[in-house]
């Protein structure tokens, strides 16, 4: 199934890989552009507004116009910023966000998907690199709001990675594998959301915090910290931070669909469509929460992770292990 990866390095195969990579990137960019559009439209509907409706029919090209605008803007580096770090910060956040997509299995045929045997670990490890870019950019900006935002971000992402990983551990126990494709295949009879409902709840909450979405959007709490770590960023560097955020939402949606909702499994429709629907549900959930909740208090944020989510997820692992032994 991954024959093309084992081929010898000839100009043709390299070209094939490059073309494959470009296709995946463009599809993801398209998905991200329209999830931003969807967010604005859905939020607008919840807010009794109309939302973007100027660029193209129903504002369908609004995201592209926005991205284009950001790309064309002047790249401003504050005079007292640490220039090298300031420039590299968004890249460090952005690159892993695309790299994690390599292990998300969109379809049963695994087109352009790396079937890593440590897929879940790969995802968690790479996604935690992004926080370095956030802290780096915040520190390099030499702006007090940025620093507070960046440090909050670091504290939050590190705190919530633990319950996130622990909740996924329940799934790994159930499937007996860290390979995401095998995890999906293990859900042929029953989606893991049913036996892993506790783990799923922890996963959703921790995922929202990992993505810095409402109600955990403290790092960029605009009413307190102006724009958090990205306060000093403009132009395409800001766009990279934003893109990374939305790519992560898409990727996390994909991960949730693969780990808990049976991935591409589903009647009638082709696998990728089912995958899109399931990931879309998760993405919709993030927008829904954004329209519903105020921001959580930052002291409560930490307490919640360490005193509530982590014990629950550990309990979930123990329960899963006991059930697995009992069934076997």
């Amino acid at each position: 199934m991954f024959e093309w990866l084992n081929q010898p390095f000839t100009p043709m195969t390299v070209l094939g890989m490059v073309i494959g990579g470009v296709i995946v990137l463009s599809v993801i960019l398209l998905v991200v552009a329209y999830s931003i559009y969807a967010q604005r439209k859905i939020l607008a509907a919840m807010h009794l507004r109309i939302g973007p409706n100027r660029v193209g029919p129903f504002g369908l090209f609004q995201s592209f116009a926005d991205i284009l605008k950001l790309l064309l803007k002047e790249d401003i580096v504050p005079a007292k910023a640490d220039k090298a770090m300031f420039l590299i910060g968004p890249m460090i956040t952005y690159v892993p966000s695309f790299m994690v997509l390599a292990v998300i299995p969109y379809t049963a045929t695994h087109l352009f998907t790396a079937e890593l045997n440590v897929g879940v670990l790969y995802y968690i490890a790479l996604s935690s690199i992004s926080v370095i870019g956030v802290v780096l950019g915040a520190w390099a900006s030499n702006n007090k709001y940025s620093i507070i935002g960046g440090l909050r971000s670091a504290a939050q992402l590190i705190s919530y990675e633990i319950p996130l990983a622990l909740s996924i551990l329940g799934v790994i126990l159930m499937a007996g594998s860290m390979n995401i494709v095998e995890i999906v295949e293990a859900q042929k009879n029953m989606w893991f959301i049913v036996p892993q409902i506790i783990g799923f709840s922890v996963f959703i909450i921790a995922a929202m915090a990992e993505l810095s979405r409402v109600p955990f959007d403290l790092p960029e709490a605009e009413s307190e910290l102006v724009a958090g770590y990205s306060t000093e960023y403009s132009g395409f560097r800001f766009a990279f931070y934003m893109l990374a955020e939305y790519v992560y939402i898409t990727a996390m949606g994909g991960l949730a669909a693969a780990l808990y909702l049976g991935g591409w499994e589903g009647p009638l429709l082709p696998g990728w469509a089912w995958y899109g629907i399931k990931a879309g549900l998760f993405i919709f959930l993030t927008f829904w929460l954004q329209g519903t909740f105020p921001r959580i208090r930052n002291t409560l944020l930490m307490t919640f992770s360490w005193k509530v989510l982590i014990p629950i997820s550990i309990l979930n692992i123990i329960l899963t292990a006991i059930i697995k032994i009992a069934v076997a």
Binding site: K144, I148, P215, S223, G291, P294, R295, I296
Partner: protein, 367 residues
């Protein structure tokens, strides 16, 4: 482990910050995320209303009052005309008094609605703001119809009000009241019932009754401590003594009480409006006031219950048609004074929650 060297960080918030409600600037000293000292810096919206008034005839001062607390301009109108009428002993027609009460209470509701929306926006919830604006829009439309302006009404005159209610206006208010009650219930259910919201406001930013009185607080910041003081009841003016309404008070003087009192007061304001439109007498809306108003030499003070607290006007007259000196007791300005002591040793995450709950309007702080 070696001792880490830490130092305080000086953080300048405002005057261009998303949630200082205008152009307030607060200089805070941060120790980690704990505020050690907070100093409000004001004056960015100072227009010299008091000084300008010395060159204006009394009727000409009214539009300047619109621009103090610009989200409750009707109540400001009431403050200045009430002060001049008290000083000159001018009787005004019954119908005008009723109209003043109706537009005033509608405007109070609009101001409180805006507080609820803006406060939730401060706390990171965007949706309530737009729902609140939808409700507020209906009130603004009503006030627009009677006064011809949406925000700075310039509606009241010494001796009455400028316009009588247009035909069908009272019917529109009667239509609005059930709609308001429905929305009120929605806000109460969705906001007051939200666990995250409650965790951010309950028990935070609280002060005692004595402290509130010592700082000279009035309005909701004072009533939230349980002290029942509302000029509409305690020093009744206009025709407020004819209506049956409650003065809701809090118990803890915290953010939650201040938020919830805004909701409860809206309900009471609607009660007043309901009674007033049922019992409004017929007649003229402008009484017999002299063309040139000359307040006899002396010093006069009269206050009304504004949206933010006691809105008083102190006039020193030397018998001319212009005040010799005018002092406006702006509740926002007075209520702001408690901010430094309230913010001390608080987490920066509560900074906005506390600042927002005091409900200041910078047009009134800076005058």
């Amino acid at each position: 482990m070696a001792e880490l060297r830490t130092e305080e960080m000086l953080l300048n918030v405002g005057p261009q910050h998303p949630s200082t409600h205008g152009v307030l600037r607060v200089v805070i000293k941060l120790d980690g995320e704990i505020i050690r000292e907070a100093t409000p810096v004001i004056g960015y919206l100072h227009r010299g209303t008091e000084k300008l008034s010395e060159d204006l005839q009394y009727q000409q001062i009214i539009p300047y009052f619109d621009r103090l607390d610009y989200i409750s301009a009707m109540l400001n109108n009431h403050a200045i005309v009430n002060a001049v009428e008290k000083a000159m002993d001018i009787e005004i027609p019954e119908r005008a008094e009723y109209l003043r009460v109706i537009v005033g209470e509608l405007n109070r509701t609009a101001a409180h609605l805006l507080f609820v929306g803006a406060y939730l926006l401060d706390l990171g919830a965007m949706s309530p703001f737009l729902y609140v604006f939808m409700t507020r829009e209906r009130i603004i439309e009503l006030l627009n119809e009677i006064s011809g302006a949406r925000l700075t009404y310039n509606y009241m005159r010494v001796g009455g009000v400028k316009y009588d209610a247009p035909p069908g206006w009272f019917a529109k208010i009667r239509e609005f009241i059930p709609y308001f009650k429905e929305m009120y219930q929605l806000f109460d259910d969705l906001i007051t019932g939200n666990e995250i919201f409650i965790s951010r406001v309950k028990g935070i930013g609280s002060y005692g009754q004595e402290e509130a009185i010592n700082y000279g607080l009035s309005g909701i910041p004072l009533r939230s401590t349980g002290f029942k003081w509302d000029l509409r009841k305690n020093k009744s003016y206009s025709v407020y003594d004819r209506f049956d309404f409650e003065i809701p008070v809090g118990t803890n003087g915290d953010n939650y009480d201040r938020y919830y009192l805004h909701l409860l007061e809206m309900e009471q304001s609607m009660r007043i409006v309901e009674q007033a439109i049922d019992s409004i007498p017929e007649g003229p809306v402008m009484g017999k006031a002299p063309k040139i108003l000359r307040i006899p030499a002396g010093e006069y003070y009269a206050a009304v219950e504004g949206a933010k607290g006691e809105l008083g006007v102190y006039i020193v007259s030397d018998g001319k048609d212009k005040p010799y000196r005018m002092k406006i007791r702006r509740p926002s300005f007075v209520n702001l004074q408690i901010i430094p002591s309230l913010l001390k040793d608080q987490n920066i995450a509560d900074f906005i929650a506390i600042l927002g709950s005091i409900d200041i309007v910078l047009g009134e702080v800076d005058a």
